[in-house]
Symmetry: C2
């Protein structure tokens, strides 16, 4: 049984797909730890236990492999976040989500940062296709956050006039900035603090809304 490879229209057997996946997974791990620039194809070959011609059979070159790694890392994160956020509809749930991310990052003392963020930062000014893919993945991720915020709004925990998309962008920014500061400091604290500020802001929109709305929201000049 063969299945069509989405990427280049070639047919791949189950075995071929498995090999391809093994290459991408190994490359993703190496790149997460070492970065794109410091990861050689020989590293990937060694780590995946695959030969060079196999690698070049599945990928046109290093760039193509890196693009596949972006997709792979993105899929993993989106799946993880869908599981973690898909049914969250309370501030408490959002705080538990934060706790899980912080705790997980604490295990490595902040090292490697966000798998998608670090990769995006390194690749964005080098490879436009990879940059676009990463950008799209951030959008998907942010949509999951926006979903939570919408449910908060529906449950009355956020005022109807709150701009969900902007809050989601702000939360993602705090998350990514926090990851980066934690990576540089080798200490999760700034990540925790950064997310907490975003969550405190989101929470505060509720607290000051309850009961008293004497005046409509005033537009602030940007």
């Amino acid at each position: 049984m063969t299945t069509l490879d989405a990427r280049n229209g070639r047919r791949l057997t189950a075995r071929g797909e498995k090999t391809r996946a093994r290459i991408v997974a190994a490359a993703a791990d190496l790149i997460n730890v070492q970065g794109v620039g410091a990861t050689t194809l020989d590293d990937v070959i060694l780590a995946s236990g695959v030969s060079k011609s196999q690698l070049y059979h599945h990928f046109a070159g290093k760039d193509a492999l890196v693009r596949a790694v972006v997709d792979h890392v993105g899929e993993r994160i989106i799946q993880r976040e869908r599981d973690a956020l898909g049914h969250v509809s309370t501030i408490q749930g959002l705080r538990r989500w934060r706790d899980a991310l912080v705790q997980n990052n604490a295990l490595r003392h902040g090292a490697y940062g966000c798998a998608l963020g670090s990769l995006a930062s390194e690749v964005s000014d080098q490879d436009d296709a990879a940059r676009r893919a990463a950008s799209q993945l951030f959008i998907e991720w942010q949509e999951l956050l926006a979903g939570v915020l919408h449910r908060l709004q529906d449950g009355g925990a956020l005022p109807p006039e709150a701009s969900i998309d902007q809050l989601a962008t702000g939360l993602m920014g705090a998350l990514q900035g926090g990851y980066m500061l934690a990576q540089t400091a080798r200490d999760v604290t700034p990540m925790a603090t950064s997310i907490d500020m975003a969550l405190a802001h989101i929470e505060s929109l509720h607290k000051h809304e309850v009961g008293q709305r004497q005046r409509p929201a005033v537009e602030q000049v940007q």
Copy 2:
């Protein structure tokens, strides 16, 4: 007249220092645009108009040069931010600071991100000395932000119990995360939105403190 080179205790004449500075400046520019991994020493030689032996005379190797670039980039940013933030003591002043950063980043459509942030992200898991230097620079930068927040507090724009350091960390996180998202999206919007959320939070601490909850803290930007 000779002056002691701080780095390795060797004496450098004025001419030597100029050459060294020229190398670092050229390397910093290239690295900002291309990243560390994609910048070769031949690139640096070409851009600085200096010979290879000069480069190796001043720096032990690529790692040493990168470390010098981290210092250089950091000094530039700290100086810029000291000028921009040193006397800011109002929310309006903080907003003007935000406007300048956003506008400046808009000129390149977000490309290259934060000169220090991108560098730190790429280097942090490879070179511990460079990581520490970058980490220290972020601390200095954050202290400038904390200085502003302290002045806000002294002026009554922030409540006495506000945790200045945490607010400064959150603001820095929002700034860095915003830079990164803007770099990936090639669009400043997420950077503006991210910082605005942090500023809205800081601002909201005041409004709800003085007893007059006239308007909900809704940020209306982008």
